[in-house]
């Protein structure tokens, strides 16, 4: 005669004859049923678990151990079958396996057993302590078929369509490709994950080291060069002729140390009546020469290392009327480098002559040929001129 659990008031008072029948027994606080398919777990008086024995006396039983799961909320379990804290309905539970053991021995964590149902996300965990996509730290591990034998690979019969097999030793992953009756095993590469090759930084050519620019600025100073009282009629322009070309060298020792931003000059003249030279141009340059040498030409031939030729004042009218220093403010400043000599080029392209002209009041120095001149009528002079061994107009340099 079958007995139902809800009829049992005191499990220890089960009639011994029933126990002998082997239909219901208690072992280690478990309710044990033999053959019976009618056991109910609705009531909670099932002790620590339920074991269903198939009666063959060998390891082919089904055991349910129910314990701390009940401490978890429905939300945590996400198991709709668990209702009203009364246990599981265990609906739809089928198995052909010999043993199923569900165990959650650690009640301190949420890791452990849970029921997987349709649409559940199987959380395989993460690396680097990253947050899993399931947004839950409850995870299970799912391994594909594997082999640790070097060179071992699956046959078509070893895999189902979509199933994977990995040879751990070779690091190769296999699966099936094709259609039913025509599958073949394919593999994914077993290459070592390599560090991404960082493209080599293009070699940027080093910026050429630009020598530090000397500091050029207007110091609002005027340097008076050595003065004299000699009359030099052809400086800075020769009024007796249509054209003249004069040049002057001022040595660095005369200019003093340091760079200079030369913004103008003054030249002392005398003996002029009302007199204006038209179409005058002044150019400045550096030269390594301390004086004019031989065979110098208007085009600067035989003046050494002429650099930074700069037209500082172009095609201007030079009013030489009267006597005294005549000031010429440059339109373009000249950066004197502080080391070379300064070359001053004065081009008189008036193209006409007239009386009433005067002269440049000049300094006498028999050591250096500091001046050079050439003049002509009808056309601007070219070719060779005359170096002046002794005289140079009185100049003031504005910087």
């Amino acid at each position: 005669m079958p007995i139902f659990l809800n009829q049992i008031r005191d499990i220890y008072n089960i009639p011994t004859y029933l126990n002998r029948l082997g239909e219901l027994s208690i072992e280690d606080n478990n309710v044990v049923l033999n053959y019976s398919s009618s056991a109910s777990t609705i009531n909670t008086s099932i002790g620590a678990g339920l074991t269903i024995q198939d009666g063959d006396g060998i390891d082919s039983d089904v055991t349910f151990r129910i314990g701390a799961l009940n401490t978890l909320s429905d939300n945590e379990l996400n198991i709709s079958e668990y209702v009203d804290n009364k246990g599981y309905k265990n609906l739809g539970f089928f198995t052909e396996l010999n043993d199923i053991v569900l165990s959650n021995s650690d009640t301190g964590t949420t890791d452990g057993v849970r029921v997987i149902k349709e649409k559940d996300i199987i959380n395989g965990g993460t690396i680097n302590n990253e947050t899993p996509c399931s947004e839950s730290n409850r995870n299970i591990k799912f391994l594909v078929k594997s082999s640790t034998i070097e060179g071992s690979k699956p046959e078509v019969a070893d895999l189902l369509p979509g199933e994977l097999m990995i040879n751990v030793c070779d690091g190769i992953l296999y699966t099936l490709k094709g259609k039913p009756d025509s599958y073949e095993v394919i593999k994914f590469n077993g290459l070592t994950i390599q560090e991404p090759v960082t493209p080599e930084e293009p070699v940027t050519p080093e910026e050429p080291v630009t020598p530090e620019e000397p500091l050029y600025y207007n110091q609002n100073k005027t340097l008076t060069l050595p003065e004299g009282d000699s009359q030099k009629w052809h400086y800075p322009a020769y009024g007796l002729y249509d054209y003249s070309h004069t040049m002057y060298i001022i040595r660095s020792s005369e200019l003093g140390e340091g760079t200079k931003l030369i913004s103008g000059l003054e030249i002392e003249v005398a003996g002029y009546s009302s007199y204006i030279y038209e179409n005058q141009t002044i150019k400045l340059a550096h030269t390594s020469d301390l004086e004019f040498g031989s065979s110098v030409k208007v085009d600067l031939t035989n003046i050494n290392n002429v650099t930074n030729i700069t037209t500082v004042k172009s095609e201007f009218d030079f009013n030489a009327t009267g006597s005294g220093y005549k000031e010429v403010d440059f339109d373009t400043n000249f950066r004197y480098n502080g080391t070379d000599s300064l070359l001053i080029i004065w081009e008189n392209r008036d193209g006409d002559w007239d009386s009433g002209f005067g002269y440049a009041v000049s300094h006498f120095d028999n050591e250096y040929a500091s001046s050079w001149y050439q003049y002509s009528d009808n056309s601007y002079p070219s070719a060779y001129g005359t170096k002046d061994q002794s005289y140079r107009p009185n100049f003031k340099i504005k910087y």
Binding site: Q231, W233, G239, L240, S355, G356, G358, D377
Partner: protein, 75 residues
């Protein structure tokens, strides 16, 4: 001023066309001629005969293409 510029000019005109024969300023005297038919020495001698008393130094003399320019200054 002791220079007789009219006489000087007349003499020079025998050898060409005098363009200017006068003081350039108080310190200098200039003679400019063209169409010259003689040499520079002839002209220089004529000029200096008249002006050396006042303008003793020849600063510049150039004759080219039939044109003479010279500048005398005081000592």
């Amino acid at each position: 001023m002791s220079i007789n510029k009219i006489n000087l000019t007349n003499e020079l005109n025998n050898y060409g066309n005098v363009i200017l024969c006068d003081e350039n300023n108080s310190e200098s005297f200039i003679v400019v001629m063209d169409n010259i038919i003689t040499d520079v020495t002839t002209l220089k001698d004529i000029i200096e005969t008249h002006i050396l008393k006042d303008f003793q130094i020849l600063k510049n003399i150039r004759m080219s293409d039939g044109k003479l320019k010279c500048l005398y200054v005081k000592n």
